[in-house]
C-alpha cells in the first residue's frame, strides 16, 4: 500500500511575532523612559507623557470591582487601562492569550533570557527541569496570585501589587520607585528563565491566569490533524508552556499563549498538520 506523500520543510520562526514583541517592548520602554525624562523637561515630544500604569491593561482588571461598585478606578489606574483591558479581552476571545505571546514585554524578556538557557541546556533538557507532577500543581498557583491581588486591591483601593510586580520593576528600575521585593521577584524570574521558559507566565502571572481561561472558548484555536501527524513530538518540544500538543486534536489548555511555535508554520515538519484555525480542519 502506498503511503500518502508527506511534504517536509525545515523549522522556521514565527517572525511576525518576534517583530511585534520587539515593537511592543521598545514602545513600553520608550514610554517609561520618556516619562522619566519629562520630569526634567527633556522628554521626546512625539511620545505621550504617560505613566506605565496608564498603558497596563491589568490595571483595568484590578479596577473592575471598584468600577462596578463605585464607578471609579483604583488609585493610579487610568481610563486608558480600562480601554486596553477591553481590547485585550476582545483579542483573547478571538485568538486566545495573544497578549501574552505576542505583546507582553515581560514575556518577551523571559523568552530572550530563555534563548540563552536553550543554548546552554539544549532543546530536550531546557524547560524540562521541573518534575511533571509538581509542575502540573504549580501551574494553578497563578490563580492564587490573582485572587490575592484582587483581594488586596479591593480592600485597599490601591495598587499594592506594584510593590511585587516584576513588570513594573523592569521598566522603572532606574527611577528609585521600585521596592526590594519587586526587584527580587524580577531577578528570580530572569534567573529561572535560564532553566524554565516563561516561569513568571507559567506559575505566577495573574493576568495570564485571567486570559488563559479564554483558551476554553476562544474562536481561533490550535488544531492538530491527527491523520497527517507523524507523532515525532516536535510540537511538544518547542511549546514554551510544555503543552503536549501531539496528544490532543484541539488545544484548550489554560496555559496556551497562542504563540504558534507548535504549528506547521514553525516546528511541525508536516505541512497543514498543526494549524491555527476557527472551525474544524480537513
Amino acid at each position: 500500500m502506498k503511503l500518502p506523500k508527506i511534504q517536509l520543510f525545515r523549522k522556521r520562526s514565527i517572525w511576525p511575532r518576534t517583530l511585534l514583541q520587539l515593537f511592543f517592548f521598545a514602545l513600553i520602554a520608550l514610554i517609561s523612559i520618556n516619562h522619566t525624562l519629562m520630569k526634567s523637561g527633556a522628554g521626546l515630544s512625539f511620545l505621550p507623557n504617560v505613566t506605565l500604569h496608564a498603558v497596563c491593561p491589568f490595571g483595568g482588571v484590578e479596577s473592575l470591582y471598584q468600577f462596578i461598585a463605585e464607578g471609579s478606578f483604583v488609585q493610579k489606574v487610568r481610563e486608558s487601562s480600562f480601554v486596553l483591558m477591553n481590547i485585550v479581552f476582545l483579542l483573547a476571545i478571538l485568538f486566545g492569550p495573544v497578549f501574552c505571546g505576542w505583546v507582553c514585554p515581560l514575556g518577551t524578556v523571559q523568552e530572550w533570557v530563555g534563548k540563552l538557557g536553550r543554548k546552554i541546556f539544549k532543546s530536550k533538557r531546557y524547560n524540562h527541569f521541573i518534575p511533571s507532577k509538581l509542575d502540573k500543581v504549580l501551574r494553578y498557583a497563578r490563580y492564587g496570585v490573582l485572587a490575592w491581588i484582587l483581594y488586596i486591591t479591593i480592600t485597599s483601593g490601591k495598587l499594592l501589587f506594584q510593590d511585587y510586580d516584576p513588570y513594573y520593576a523592569l521598566f522603572n528600575f532606574w527611577t528609585g520607585e521600585v521596592t526590594i521585593s519587586a526587584f527580587i521577584i524580577l531577578s528570580l524570574t530572569l534567573v529561572l528563565s535560564l532553566f524554565v521558559e516563561r516561569p513568571w507566565c507559567k506559575y505566577a502571572c495573574p493576568y495570564g491566569a485571567v486570559l488563559g481561561l479564554t483558551n476554553l472558548f476562544r474562536i481561533f484555536k490550535i488544531r492538530r490533524v491527527a491523520a497527517a501527524c507523524r507523532n515525532d513530538g516536535a510540537c511538544d518540544i518547542r511549546c514554551p508552556m510544555n503543552i503536549q500538543v501531539s496528544q490532543k486534536n484541539v488545544i484548550r489548555d489554560h496555559q496556551c499563549i497562542a504563540c504558534m511555535e507548535c504549528t506547521s508554520e514553525a516546528s511541525c515538519p508536516v505541512r497543514e498538520t498543526v494549524v491555527f484555525s476557527a472551525g474544524g480542519v480537513k
Binding site: 487610568r78 481610563e79 481590547i87 483579542l91 505576542w102
Partner: protein, 117 residues
C-alpha cells in the same frame, strides 16, 4: 478558516491601535489622572474664568501654581521638598515622592484662597 502568523500579527495591531483610536474618538482614552469615572477624561486641570480656576486638579503642574500667583517658597513649604521642574504635574510628583496628593492639594488650595484675601 485558517490564519497564518502574518495575518494574525496584522490583526493584533489593527485591534489594539484601532481600539485605541475608536476609544479616543469617543472620549474614553484618558491617560491622565483625576478623571474619576469612565468617559470623564480630560476634564481635570486648571481652567480659567470661573471658580474652578483655582482648583488643583489632576493635570495641574507646578507652573500652573506659579501662574496662579503662588510663590516657589510657599509651594516648597507645602510639599516639604525643593520644587521640581515646573512642567511636572503635582499629582505625579506626589505619587513619586510618596506624598498624599489629597492633603497637598487641600493645602495648595488653602494657600490660593489666602493669597486673595
Amino acid at each position: 478558516m485558517k490564519l497564518n502568523s502574518k495575518i494574525l500579527g496584522i490583526l493584533i495591531l489593527v485591534v489594539v491601535f484601532g481600539g485605541i483610536a475608536i476609544s479616543s474618538a469617543l472620549g474614553y482614552w484618558n491617560t491622565e489622572g483625576g478623571g474619576g469615572g469612565y468617559g470623564q477624561g480630560g476634564k481635570a486641570g486648571v481652567e480659567s474664568g470661573d471658580e474652578a480656576a483655582e482648583m488643583v486638579r489632576g493635570r495641574t503642574t507646578f507652573q500652573d501654581l506659579l501662574d496662579l500667583g503662588l510663590t516657589q517658597e510657599v509651594i516648597e513649604q507645602i510639599i516639604g521638598t525643593p520644587m521640581p521642574d515646573p512642567s511636572v504635574r503635582v499629582n505625579l510628583y506626589c505619587e513619586e515622592q510618596g506624598l498624599d496628593f489629597e492633603s497637598i492639594r487641600a493645602e495648595l488650595e488653602q494657600a490660593l484662597a489666602q493669597r486673595d484675601s
